[in-house]
C-alpha cells in the first residue's frame, strides 16, 4: 500500500488499514484480537503477553512498527528547519545516526516525542507517535524544505532481544554486529534496500528494520526462518508496553499529554517536567519553546516525572501518590509488576518540588481478588536508575546468544 490520497473524499471510510505484515500477523494471531494503532490494525497479544514479553528479554520478539507516523524531511534547509523544530541540537546527529528528541510549541510544552533518522546527508526521517504533518508544515514557513508524511511507504519491524543480532546475521546481514547503538545502515535484501537501525523501545539489544511495503511479507518470512532456533516470536503491543516501562521510556498520551491535544494549559508538560531536560540545547540558537524553557529553567518546573520502586507485588496502575504525611504529591502514569526487576515499578508525575532521588512516598493501590476490591497504601521511593539496563544494550559487537 502507498501513501493515501487524502483528496479522495472516501478515504475516511477505510481509515484503518491492514499492515503490510497483516497476512503473517494473522497466521500468528491465535487470539484473533486486533486493536487500532494510528492508521493501522495492530495486535495487542498474539497468544500470551507474558511469553511475548519474555521473548523480548530472553530471546527475541518481532513487533510491527509500521503504524508509527513517519515523515521525510529533505531540501537545502532540512537541518536548520529541524534545529528550529526540535529541542535538541540536530547538527550533532550525523548521517547514519539516529537521535531521540521532543518538539515543543512556543510555550515550551511538548507536542510529541520521536526519533530523527539521518538517513543520508541532509535527508531525515522523523518517526512520531502522533500525526504531525500539520505542525511540521506550519514550521516550514520561511524554509526551503520539503516535508512529506510517508507512513504508508515504509514497512517497519522491530526485532528486540538478546538473540536479535544473531538472527540478523543468520539472515545474511553481514557486519550488522558492528552497528553501534543509534546507528543505521543499509543492506541489500532481495535486490532492494533494507535499512537497519540499532534502535527500539525496549531498553535492550534490538534493531529496527525498514523496507519497501511490497517486500514486507518476504522480510517477515526470512526473519522467522533465520530465528527459528533462537526463540523468535511475534510480539504484541501489550508486551511492548511492559518492556518500555521497564526501560523507563515514556509514551505520549500516557506519561504526558501532547500539547496540541490539551484543552487545559496546566495539563501539558515541558521537557524538563517529563525528565527530558537533557534533550534541550540552549546553545544552538532559536527553537520552538526556547524562551519559555529558559524561563522555566530559571524559575523552576511545575512537575517532575520520576521512577518509583514500590514495596508491593501489585501493579500501581492509575494510583495516587501521597507523601508520608498523606498529602497529595502526584499520580502514577505507567505501572507494572516487572518480571525482570522482580519489583512493582511505576512512572509517576509529581508536583514540584517532589521527586528527588530517594524521596519516599506511598502509592494507593486498588486491586481486586476474585471480584473483591481492596486497597493498600504501599511505601515507595524515587529511584534514578532504570529498572532494566543490561550491558548488551550498549555493547558493539553485542555478545552472541
Amino acid at each position: 500500500m502507498r501513501t493515501v490520497n487524502i483528496t479522495n473524499s472516501d478515504h475516511h471510510k477505510n481509515a484503518v488499514y491492514p499492515s503490510p505484515f497483516h497476512s503473517r500477523q494473522e497466521q500468528h494471531n491465535q487470539l484473533r484480537e486486533w486493536s487500532r494503532w494510528s492508521d493501522y490494525l495492530s495486535v495487542p497479544a498474539y497468544w500470551c503477553e507474558s511469553m511475548e514479553y519474555f521473548s523480548g528479554r530472553n530471546a527475541c520478539g518481532v513487533f510491527d512498527v509500521t503504524p508509527m507516523v513517519k515523515h521525510l524531511v529533505t531540501g537545502p534547509d532540512a537541518l536548520p528547519y529541524l534545529n528550529r523544530l526540535m529541542t535538541r541540537d540536530v547538527r550533532k546527529i550525523k548521517p547514519g545516526r539516529v537521535g531521540y528528541s521532543v518538539w515543543c510549541d512556543d510555550n515550551g510544552q511538548v507536542i510529541d516525542d520521536g526519533t530523527i533518522f539521518h538517513l543520508r546527508e541532509g535527508v531525515y526521517r522523523i518517526c512520531s507517535q502522533e500525526h504531525q504533518i500539520d505542525w511540521f508544515l506550519t514550521n516550514a514557513l520561511g524554509f526551503d524544505v520539503n516535508i512529506t508524511e510517508d507512513t504508508h511507504d515504509v514497512a517497519g519491524l522491530a526485532l528486540q532481544g538478546p538473540t536479535s543480532c544473531a538472527v540478523l546475521k543468520e539472515m545474511g546481514l553481514q557486519g550488522v554486529e558492528n552497528l553501534t547503538p543509534f546507528g543505521l545502515t543499509y543492506f541489500d535484501f532481495e535486490g532492494i534496500e533494507l535499512m537497519v537501525s540499532r534502535t527500539g523501545f525496549t531498553g535492550d539489544l534490538g534493531y529496527e528494520l525498514w523496507v519497501d511495503p511490497d517486500h514486507a511479507e518476504l522480510l517477515w518470512d526470512r526473519l522467522f526462518e533465520a530465528g527459528k532456533t533462537r526463540g523468535i516470536r511475534a510480539m504484541g503491543s501489550n508486551a511492548l508496553e511492559m518492556l518500555r516501562i521497564e526501560a523507563g521510556f515514556i509514551l505520549a498520551g500516557a506519561d504526558f499529554l501532547p500539547a496540541m491535544e490539551a484543552v487545559r494549559p496546566s495539563h501539558t508538560r515541558s521537557p524538563f517536567e517529563i525528565g527530558l531536560g537533557w534533550l534541550v540545547s540552549f546553545e544552538k540558537g532559536v527553537f520552538n519553546g526556547r524562551k519559555a524553557l529558559l524561563e522555566e529553567k530559571e524559575n523552576g518546573s511545575r512537575y517532575h516525572l520520576v521512577k518509583l520502586d514500590i514495596d508491593d507485588n501489585k501493579a500501581a496502575k492509575d494510583s495516587f501518590v501521597f507523601t508520608k504525611k498523606g498529602k497529595y504529591a502526584g499520580t502514577v502514569t505507567s505501572a507494572m509488576w516487572s518480571p525482570s526487576a522482580k519489583a512493582s515499578i511505576a512512572l509517576a508525575s509529581l508536583d514540584a518540588p517532589h521527586g528527588k532521588p530517594g524521596e519516599e512516598f506511598e502509592v494507593e493501590i486498588y486491586y481486586q481478588r476474585e471480584l473483591k476490591w481492596s486497597r493498600v497504601m504501599a511505601p515507595c521511593r524515587v529511584v534514578q536508575d532504570v529498572f532494566w539496563n543490561p550491558p548488551r544494550r550498549r555493547q558493539t559487537p553485542p555478545p552472541d546468544f
Binding site: D77, P80, Y81, R84, L85, D105, D106, W135, T138, N139, L141, G142, F143, G285, V286, F287, N288, G289, R290, K291
Partner: protein, 514 residues
Amino acid sequence: MNVDTIIIGGGHNGLVCAAYLAKAGKKVTVLEAADQVGGAAATREFAPGYRASVAHLLYLLDKDISKELALESYGLRMAKSGLKTIALAENGKHVSISSDAVEGADLSSEDKAAYREYRRFMSKFAGIFSGLHNKIPPRITRERSDMIALGKMALNVRMLGRDDMRELLRIGAINIYDVLKENFDDPLLRGALSLDAVLGTNSGPRSNNSVFTALHRMSGNNGGAAGDVSIPLGGMGAVTEALAAAARKAGAEILTGSPVSSILLDGDDVKGVQLANGEQIAASVVVSNADPKTTMMSLLRARHLEAGFAWKFGNIRASGSAAKLHLALDGLPDFKGASQEQLGERLVIAPNVEYVERAFNHSKYGEFSSHPVAEITIPSIHDNSLAPDGKHVLSAIVQYAPRNLGAGWSESKREFADTVMNTLSEYAPDIRDKVVASELLTPEDIETDFRMAGGHWHHCELSLDQFLMLRPVPKSAQYRTPVEGLYLCGAGCHPGGGVMGSAGRNAASVVLAQ
C-alpha cells in the same frame, strides 16, 4: 558604522519615532530606501510640474505630536481645514456634509436631524478610541499596570452613560450598512457615510466591524471636530518634511537611498542591519517602520522566530484594495452641479450604499470594481505649488482594486484606468479632455514603490481582530518583538494607519523605557 538606534524606514511613524528618541538623547539613524523621506506620505512629482501625495488628506495627525515636535516651526501649514464632503450625484443634486450639518436639495428634515444625532454619538464613541491612541496597549496579564489600563478602558465605556454605552456595545462590532439604514433615508447620504467606513480597508459596508473602521477614521486627536479633514500646504510631504526637520534638529541622522536588506542578530539580540549594498550598520536597538510582515518575514526571516509566532505573522491580513489616481489637468473639470467652491472640498463617488457594497463584491473574487467608488480632491485649488499656473492636480483614492487580481495587474491596469475614467466622466463629463498626464498606482504598485506588504496603507488590515493588544499579533502588540532590541513602530502597530504618528511616538516611549 556604529549607532545607538536604527530606524528602518523614513515614513511618518519612523520620523516621529526618530524625533522623540533623538530628543531623548539617543544617537539615531533613519534608513530610508527611497530618495526622499515620507514613504506614501511624501509629495511626489508624477508628471513634469505636477505634484501629488499618495496619502492626500490629513485626518488623524496627533495634535500633541505636532506641538511637542513644533511642526509649525518647520513650516507645516494647512492649505485648507474642515473640508466638507460633497456626495456627488449623477444628476448634480449633491449632498454637502460637514461636521455639524448636512445640506442637499432632496434631503428630508428627518435626515438632517438624524445626521446631527449620528454625529453626536459617533463622535462620542470615536472619543473612546481617541483616548487610546497615545497609550501602549495593555497586555492581558495579571500585572497591576495592565489591569489598571484595562480597567480604565472599561470605565471609559461605562462613563458614556447607560444609553450610549448600550448603543456602543450594540453597534461597535457590526456593519455600517445596518446602522446607516436605521438612521437615514437618503441613499446619497448613506452612500457617502458608508465610504468613510471602508476607505483603505479590504471590506464593504456590509462587512463586519465596519462601524469600528468608521469610528477609527473619526478618532484622530487632530484638534478639530471628530473626523476633521485637512489638506496640508505643499501636500502630505509637508508633514513628513516637517517631521524630518524636527528629527534632524533633535540630532537624528536621516539617510535616504539606503534600503535595508536584513536585520542582523547576535544570538537572541539584534546587532544591527545590513543594507542592500552589503554595508552593515551596528546598533543595539533597531526600530522598524516597515510593515510587520516585511519586518519579520523578509528582513528578520521566519526561521529566527519560534514557529507559532512566525505563523501568526505570516497570517496577518494585509491585502490592500485601494488604488490611487493622480491626474494632471490643464484646467478645472466641470463636475455636474458643483460650484467652484465645492470643487475644493472632498468629493466622493458613492451614490448609495448598495453601490459601494457591489463595488466591494468584485474584490472578493479577485476582480476590480466595474463601478468603483472614489474619494477625490483637487488640492491645487488651495495650493498653487502643486501645479503650474492655471493647471490643476486631481488626486483620487479608487476602490476596489484588490492586491491579488485574478488576471494580474500588468494585464489589467490599463483596463482599470479606463473603468475609473469612465466613472469619473459620469460625474465630470469633460474630464478626459482636461487630462494632460496621469498616474495610477494599484496596490501592487504601492507594495513595490513603498515597500508595504500587500500594498495596504494600514500595513495590516484595520479590524477588531487586529486592533489594540492584537495588533499586529498578540505578544508583539506593545511595539516589542521576541527579538531583544527589535521594535516595531509603523501603522501595523496600535493604533494603525492614516498619517497620525501615534505608533511612532508610542514605540519611542517603549524603547526609552527599556
